[in-house]
């Protein structure tokens, strides 16, 4: 099997007495969508934050493209190709869509140490930015201020920013939350197209979407990984049915 792009190795992180993430080991392989599910408060977002470098683990390590990145900061990991979206959309609200995405191009290529050229006239930045905008399904919305976007469009903008990084993997934290049936279906189709380009670790609540999209599913409950397998295996797993699917049904 191909070498995983991401490996979380016995990652743990507590907040006070709470073990938010408890010895979680998890892999993301090339070409797959790996879904991460679990009830609210299970530690999914914390796990994403640990992988992205926003939170320091108490124990364990993160391997990105085979390299131990545990000591690297968020920006460094992003430049290695870790693209992510946030559970609560996180963009620069005063910027236009194009500026937001150009910022991501800046981060992944060339850096910030140009003082002279006007960024928005720099084809080396706006070209890839427009491409990412089109890939995320936001064509024609480039000049709209991010603050004026609909909820669903803001989600797509985040995906466009992640794509502009030329990511080697994507971490998407509940990208479909609050999108409505139609929006979620559209986003599902987008993720499905992306799969061949970049593997995705997908945190998602929508079970239909999860089972339709993902190659593998891991289940987190109270910080612990309680099951991992194909969609069919997970559906059949008694533990999972008890802690999670049972609740949802």
């Amino acid at each position: 099997m191909a070498e995983p792009v991401l490996r979380a190795e016995r990652l743990s992180r507590g907040f006070g007495a709470l073990r938010a993430v408890d010895e979680v080991t998890l892999e993301l392989r090339p070409g797959e969508i790996h879904a991460l599910i679990g009830p609210n408060g299970a530690g999914k977002s914390t796990l994403i934050r640990l992988i992205a470098g926003e939170v320091r683990p108490d124990a364990g390590q993160v391997l990105l493209l085979g390299r131990d990145v545990s000591r690297l900061d968020v920006a460094r990991r992003a430049r290695m190709g870790l693209g992510r979206t946030f559970q609560v959309s996180s963009v620069a609200p005063d910027f236009s869509v194009l500026q937001n995405v150009a910022l991501a191009v800046l981060g992944s290529r060339g850096g910030v140490f140009g003082l002279w050229r006007n960024v928005m006239r720099d084809e080396a930045l706006t070209g890839p930015a427009r491409e990412a905008i089109a890939d995320a399904g936001l064509s024609g919305r480039g000049s709209v201020p991010a603050a004026a976007l609909s909820h669903g469009e803001r989600r797509k903008l985040e995906i466009a920013m992640a794509l502009a990084l030329q990511p080697r993997l994507l971490l998407l934290d509940e990208p479909m939350a609050g999108m409505g049936v139609e929006g979620a279906a559209e986003l599902g189709a987008l993720l499905s197209r992306l799969r061949t380009r970049v593997p995705i670790l997908l945190v998602e609540h929508d079970m239909d979407a999860v089972f339709a999209l993902s190659d593998r599913v891991s289940v987190l409950a109270e910080g612990r990984l309680i099951a991992s397998g194909t969609g069919a295996e997970i559906r059949a797993d008694a533990d999972v049915r008890r802690v999670y699917l049972g609740e949802a049904a």
């Binding site: 992205a52 926003e54 900061d73 968020v74 920006a75 460094r76 992003a78 430049r79 992510r84 946030f86 996180s90 963009v91 620069a92 609200p93 005063d94 910027f95 236009s96 500026q99 150009a102 910022l103 991501a104 800046l106 981060g107 992944s108 060339g110 850096g111 910030v112 140490f113 140009g114 003082l115 002279w116 050229r117 006007n118 960024v119 928005m120 006239r121 720099d122 930045l125 201020p145 920013m161 502009a164 990084l165």
Partner: protein, 336 residues
């Protein structure tokens, strides 16, 4: 605040561009009219406005574009001011500034003084910025204030350059081909620097660094997530900001032919903040509008009442509560 700054410059002659031109010409007209009317004092006021505006353009880089509320910019203003004062006084007396490990003398050439003043302020900003940027929000305000106060008390208690009495330099430093003691000619130098700094600030705002800087103001988490370290960007801007404010400090020493710890006081930091906020935070010409209004108020109200700063405070409150774009917002519209 404005997203327009990083967009490609508008092709049409925007309202903001017209206001900016009017402000530039207005500031230029004051000393010319004053000389024609035989009122050289007004030239001095206009020069003061230009120099404070220059300091404000510096502060605006950090405050306006980066969202860094620095309450310590007087330190950079004072560093530039003392660099100019110390160099000039040694230049005149002929005594070297240091004799070991090598002998360094003073100078009365502005062209030599400016780089030193800018470098001193930039270095100060690098140290203060690196330490202060570990914090955010109110803590950042407090720690920059604390560093400013440290610089102030240092100069007060250091007797070599006048301590709390300050250091007179008697005559202005020289500039090739210019009689710097002639009010109008010295104004031209200050005005030229202001225009250059505005141009620089405009270029920075539209540059890669400017884009990242304005993103850092809006959302540091997002900036890091696309691979750019917010602190590096903010520190870079803070250093540029301090450097420009330091240059203004050097000119201020020459304007007054005197430098004292008052330049480093927290009131100076406060005044710089006030004039940027009055003028319009994050607006290219905000500090120009703010400095002109500030000097006008200081002169007009200061003559009527010792409590003119009370009125200034009231105006500031109005701006913060009702007109968040400041003067530029009122004249040129919310987003330029």
């Amino acid at each position: 605040m404005t997203a327009a700054a990083v967009q490609a410059p508008a092709r049409r002659w925007s309202r903001e561009a017209r206001v900016n031109t009017a402000l530039s010409l207005g500031l230029l007209a004051v000393p010319l009219l004053a000389m024609a009317a035989g009122e050289p004092f007004w030239v001095t006021l206009a020069t003061r406005a230009a120099i404070l505006a220059l300091a404000g353009v510096g502060l605006n880089l950090a405050l306006g574009y980066g969202g860094l509320v620095s309450f310590g910019h007087a330190a950079f203003f004072g560093l530039g001011g003392y660099a100019a004062g110390v160099l000039a006084s040694h230049g005149m007396s002929g005594r070297p500034i240091v004799t070991w490990p090598l002998e360094i003398g003073g100078t009365t050439q502005m062209l030599a003084i400016w780089p030193v003043a800018v470098a001193a302020a930039a270095l100060g900003a690098l140290v203060i910025g690196a330490l202060s940027l570990r914090t955010t929000g109110v803590f950042f305000i407090m720690i920059t204030l604390a560093f400013g106060q440290m610089a102030f008390y240092f100069m007060v208690s250091w007797p070599a350059y006048g301590g709390e009495d300050g250091l007179p330099t008697y005559v202005r430093s020289r500039f090739p081909g210019v009689n710097t003691m002639a009010p109008l000619q010295f104004f031209a130098i200050a005005y030229g620097w202001l225009m250059l700094a505005l141009w620089l600030s405009w270029r920075i705002a539209g540059s890669r660094l400017g884009l990242a800087l304005q993103a850092a103001r809006q959302n540091r988490q997002r900036l890091a997530a696309v691979g750019i370290r917010p602190k590096s960007v903010l520190l870079g801007a803070f250093v540029l900001s301090g450097a420009l404010t330091g240059l203004a400090g050097a000119l201020y020493t020459d304007l007054n032919r005197f430098v004292s710890p008052a330049m480093l006081s927290w009131q100076t930091s406060g005044e710089l903040l006030v004039l940027v906020i009055l003028g319009g935070v994050g607006r290219l010409f905000g500090p120009v509008a703010g400095a002109m209004l500030f000097i006008a108020l200081e002169h007009l109200l200061g003559g009527i009442s010792d409590y003119w700063q009370f009125f200034l405070g009231a105006m500031l409150l109005m701006v913060v509560l009702f007109a968040r774009g400041g003067i530029m917002g009122a004249l040129a519209g919310r987003d330029g």
